[in-house]
Symmetry: C2
Subunit: 345 residues, 2 copies
């Protein structure tokens, strides 16, 4: 191979690499409705659409067992997959769990991990149907695939946003990221100390958002009961900015969001202040919120505004206007996808 | 945790650990027909059954990039999943590919891996529909999930074998294992030598069986065209002995197979001779053959005997007779599951 042609993977980034490797793919099976490029792949069987999503979690890259309990890790590993299925307006039904286990883990450790996975399955009504288990020479490897379904025609893709649609988010943003900062700070503080007690008082919400996120099944149900079908939707795993730009790119639109509309919890704000970090940057780019980002037609304004736990943060525009945030002092700043690049780790 | 209660995972083995961790699971979704315990999970949607199988491959445990070209690795990673779907009498339709990539890999390396995956998909008519890509702190991690389908009622499980059924295998056994021994031998011989040329003359079949296996779609079609539906089926990935014992355990039967009926290629025999290994042991326990092991009713004898590439090697018995092989000199020796334990690596 010509050394001069070598390209670094981190340069392309996750989405660039996937785009590159999957370019020119065409599907040969009639059942395949949607391949690479959304929260989940979609297959149609008669009047049902089947959804498939998968996540690979590696120790040292995605989680640090110094402060992540195995039961929480199992729970979160399942939840992040359920979240991808809800983000397509589907219902998660089954998961497969593949594990690579290094020698330092015992049967009891795996029982704890599975207890978390089984708890998440129990709460969300998902069946654990299979997987693969092997040894790992290094750390723990967790690969989960989730299968879901939706009645034909109910699935919501990323590419359906239209000019004047309202941009909505559920819950609040940035707390999981601040939880991670807090856990990392306490890990450093604990180094070399026996019987160290981490200081989490008044910040329990941040820790919970990081260690034990939930998937927003409640929001999907709320929207269905109100008769609102979003035009585009995805879950916020890499940060609001990055996800919104995915929706706008795939829908061929621009957008405007308003700084003062971005939902942020009090504890998130206090923590950002303590750490001297920009609060809005954390909310825009922090990631791991697992909230839903979606667009609805302008005509749904009154209906959506009434729903608890959902906030309208802006609107979709024509593509030539680009993607921007209007600050509190009325300055327009372009959005940038500064979300976590898992290939730069 | 009470240290005295710690149990080593290797003691339980892969199947023991999975049985332990998934004990007491019950499915809550109507669509879930079959969970843990076969080549694939099964979901029913109207008149179609959906199959899902997944494999996790880790560098240093499942493959050695010293002698495995990335394109072959990609091809094989896809094939082993297709094989699981055929082993259920289904058709593979889609795969998702998740990769953990360490820093020593470039974009070109991933292009080669993907070229192999895409080639396998092209030949077998499978759509690549998604995945996840991240960095890895250690070696290459490949997690592939395959989705397949079958008309309702066509799926063949492991638990359908009945007393007097004939036991059949496709192709020949032990060659992939001998190929691995050969590649390992040449790797050791090459250590420290520049411009080393491995000696594969007359053993090309063994290398091909190890590096570029195929899934037996042809056998599935042959059986369908002949109007034969196996009563039980699985693919041979861990070795004939181990797989046959899975079928007998799940079907609550015993079995007798005949040493002189086990199909073995000439090159496999020569290589076993060279290495001073027991040939039948290699064929029984070698693994990675990706051939199909299945049972058919005794009444299908004439029909199955006519089919090319399929050999009848024995028959199913009542459970109290246990699982055994009748040697060439008419001695009955019990079968043992000596297949590869991925958790003892």
């Amino acid at each position: 191979m010509d050394e001069s042609k070598h390209r670094e993977i981190a340069e392309l980034g996750e989405f660039g690499l996937i785009d590159h490797l999957t370019s020119g793919l065409s599907n040969v099976n009639d059942a395949t409705l949607k391949g690479v490029g959304d929260d989940a792949a979609v297959m149609r069987y008669n009047d049902t659409d089947i959804l498939v999503t998968t996540d690979l979690l590696l120790e040292g890259v995605h989680f640090d067992l110094t402060y992540v309990p195995l039961m929480h890790l199992g729970y979160k590993s399942a939840i992040v997959n359920f979240s991808d299925i809800y983000a397509m307006n589907g219902t998660p039904r089954q998961i497969t769990v593949s594990l690579g286990i290094s020698k330092r883990f015992t049967v009891e450790h795996m029982e704890m991990l599975y207890a978390g996975i089984r708890k998440a399955c129990g709460i969300y009504g998902v069946d654990l149907v299979g997987g693969d288990t092997t040894s790992s020479r290094q750390g723990l490897v967790i690969s989960i695939t989730c299968i879901g379904d939706a009645p034909a025609g109910k699935i919501v893709y990323r590419n359906g946003a239209r000019d004047t649609d309202l941009i909505c988010v559920s819950g609040d943003l940035g707390a999981a990221y601040m939880g991670l900062q807090l856990l990392e700070r306490e890990k450093i503080a604990s180094a070399g100390q026996k019987d160290f007690e981490p200081r989490f008082e008044g910040k329990e919400y941040l820790v919970e958002r990081q260690l034990k996120p939930e998937a927003r099944r409640d929001i999907i149900r709320e929207l269905a009961e109100a008769g609102i079908k979003p035009t585009a939707m995805m879950d916020i795993s890499d940060g609001l900015s990055s996800e919104l730009m995915h929706i706008c790119k795939q829908s061929n639109t621009g957008c405007r969001i308003y700084e003062d509309r971005i939902p942020i919890d009090y504890q998130t704000a206090v923590m950002a202040e303590e750490l001297g970090m920009n609060l809005v940057t954390a909310a825009l780019n922090g990631g791991e919120d697992y909230e839903l980002l979606f667009t609805v037609p302008l005509t749904a304004h009154d209906a959506v505004a009434k729903l608890p736990g959902i906030k309208v943060i802006g609107h979709i525009t024509k593509p030539e206007l680009g993607c921007a945030m209007i600050t509190r002092d009325d300055v327009e700043i372009p959005l940038r996808a500064q979300g976590w690049n898992p290939l730069a780790e």
